[in-house]
Each structure stands twice: as structure tokens, then as C-alpha cells.
Symmetry: C2
Subunit: 211 residues, 2 copies
């Protein structure tokens, strides 16, 4: 099975829609409804789900809580991941205060290179020096939110890799080089702006994308 990367992004969207439907007390849905809310075709919804198994009943559709549970399982959100924030500047501090991580993700560490920041209390802990990463990461922290400036990103990533991190959510506008055992996702609003620029200038392309 060669699952396209975009399919994983859509699964996350479907999950979010299912959570909203459930909150509204809606217990049944269909590939048509999910597609409309996710702005893709019903065929796309069925194809994305088909990579992982057989869901729903023909002519009946999906049971919202069941499909939600299945998607959480596929995405690995039925477990708890330990997170660290590396780089306690403005963005890192805002993330430390963010209340919406949900039950799948738990902040377990806060790190910075700046001695003036080390020791400062934050919600849920205290800022530690990056030198403490090799002691803190193993068995406790799987994912790092990397919120350092662009020019410090690769060095911080190297430290995280050496400490045994499994995944990096990279907020810096830099292309990180890491061993293939380490997963990287970029949260990069400048790249988002560039994609938006292309999308605005190419409305026909957008229409094709919508199916």
C-alpha cells in the first residue's frame, strides 16, 4: 500500500469533522457528507479510508463514534505521546500555555540554550538547558516542538536526534537534515503563504484539486 502523504492529512481533517459531528449529536454520516465538509469528493473519502481497511456499510454509511475511533487508531492518537518544546522564545512560550493539545499529547519538557531562561517556571514545568536533553528524552519524550530561530534549527535538531527523539515538529523555516529513523513535519506559515500565492494566481488549478 502506497498511501499518499496528502491522504494522511485528509484523515486528520475527517477526524476533526467527525469530532464536530459528534459534538453536535450527529451519530451517522456518509462519504458524501464527509466529502462535502472536507471539500473533497465522496470517492476521495472512500479511497482514503480504503488504504486502511473496510469501513462503513454500503447504503448506510458510517457510525460517527466508530469511524472516529478507527481514525484515531490509524493515526496513533489512541496513545499518549510525550512532547518537549525546544526554544522558549515567543512561540515556544505561547505553545507552553496552549490548552488544546488534547489527551494524545502531553508536554513533558521545556528547553532553551539561553542561561537567562533556564530555571524560569512555565505552565507544567521549568525551563531546562538543552544539555539536559540526553537525560530527559529517553523513555519519556518522543516528539519535540522545535521553535528556535532558523539559524539555530539544524544544531538543535542534531541535539534532539542524538538524545533519541522520534519525531520533530519543525516551526523554523529551515529544511532539517535528520536520519531517516526520525520523522519530521514542518509547520511553516511562510511556505503556506507561498502556496496561497500560487493558489490565488491559479484558480483553475484549485478547481482541479477539488475534484
Amino acid at each position: 500500500m502506497k498511501v499518499p502523504s496528502a491522504a494522511i492529512s485528509r484523515l486528520v481533517t475527517y477526524l476533526r469533522i467527525l469530532e464536530e459531528l459528534e459534538q453536535e449529536g450527529i451519530m451517522r454520516t456518509s462519504s458524501e457528507q464527509l466529502g462535502e465538509l472536507a471539500q473533497v469528493t465522496a470517492f476521495q473519502v472512500r479511497k482514503d479510508l480504503s488504504y486502511f481497511g473496510s469501513y462503513g456499510t454500503r447504503g448506510v454509511g458510517y457510525t460517527v463514534p466508530v469511524l472516529k475511533r478507527e481514525l484515531r487508531h490509524i493515526l496513533g492518537l489512541n496513545r499518549r505521546w510525550g512532547l518537549a518544546i525546544v526554544g522558549m522564545g515567543r512561540l515556544g512560550s505561547a505553545l507552553a500555555d496552549y490548552p488544546g493539545f488534547g489527551e494524545s499529547f502531553e508536554l513533558r519538557g521545556f528547553f532553551d540554550v539561553d542561561p537567562a531562561k533556564v530555571g524560569r517556571p512555565v505552565r507544567g514545568g521549568v525551563i531546562e538547558p538543552v544539555e539536559a536533553l540526553p537525560q530527559r528524552v529517553p523513555g519519556r519524550i518522543e516528539i519535540a516542538l522545535l521553535t528556535v530561530p532558523r539559524e539555530a534549527a539544524q544544531e538543535a535538531a542534531d541535539l534532539l536526534v542524538a538524545a533519541g527523539i522520534k519525531g520533530i515538529l519543525n516551526f523554523a523555516p529551515a529544511v532539517l537534515e535528520v536520519p531517516k529513523e526520525v520523522a519530521v513535519e514542518n509547520v511553516d506559515f511562510l511556505a503556506g503563504l507561498a502556496r496561497l500565492s500560487f493558489a490565488i494566481l491559479n484558480p483553475k488549478w484549485r478547481e482541479e484539486m477539488m475534484g
Copy 2:
């Protein structure tokens, strides 16, 4: 031409790499080098570029500043886009102070629903009420950075659409419904965390993705 959405994201990555090469004084590159730095195959690089024309010379490769200029043109970054920030909370304020938008993007407006925030000076302007959007957007602001809480996101998007916005960079973890004339890109770190969770649990899938 049906250009995959992921190809556009990769073009942005190639552009970033070309900018870094140029800064290092490197004037020639190849699909092999670009691929290695972007962590895709050389074939992928050539394929992504082939959607838009014929670039480089066989056996010689690409001239860095030329390919950079071509990519900027393809992505629409050779023009100046007017931006507004809608939602001047913590994230919106951080973005207002962000120094790295570059020459393609210019902050031209700051908006909030909160009367207590309206009138407050920010770098490059003053916070205005969202009611001013219909006067401020036309002919001046093409793209909105939407940094309101999740539950306010759709209503704010509706206001922006009514004011004539062309694109929305959505930072809220919500699936926005907008007319097809309006482009939306999501900067959604929670979705990034979910994709990371999947990627960590499926290392074989990651290897396949790398080509």
C-alpha cells in the same frame, strides 16, 4: 496539467534551498543535489519542475539565480501581496512583530473584535475593528492571516469573504467553509502532530515516501 498539491509544497522547499545555496555563493546545482537537500529523488525534482516548463541544461544542471527567479515567478512571489492579521491575540501579535515576511508579503492591516484592543498601536499600524474590513480590504489586502480562536474562525472567515479577500492563511484548528473563489491554506500544528504520530508509527511508509 494536473499538478499535485504536494508538488507546490516541494517547489517552495526547492526555492528555500536555492536561496540558501545562493547565500553560500553556490551558483550551479543539479536535480541530484536539490533532491538530496530536499530529501526526495532527483527524478521527483525534474518531474515537479516539468509541470511548468523546461529548466536547466542536460548534463549541466541549473543556474541557481535563474532557477530561483523562475520558481519565484511560478509561485507568484515576484509580486507584492497585501496581508491583514485578523485576531490580535498572542499569535496575531507575534506575527505582527515577525520580521521575516520578505519582500513578497506586506502587513497592511490588523483587526480584532475586542473593543479593548481596537486603537492599540502595533508595529506598522494600529488595531482596527473587524467592521472596518469592507473598507480596508478591496484593492489593498489580498490575504488574511486568520488567528482567532477555533470557535470564532468561521464567522471571521465569512466577514473576510464578504469584504473580498482572495486567500486565507488559517491558523485555527477548524475546517473553513468558503466559496471556491477564495483560497485557503491551513497552518495547523495539531494536524502536524497527528501526521507525525502516524509517521513515527509507520517507518516503512516513511521510507516509501522518500522514494
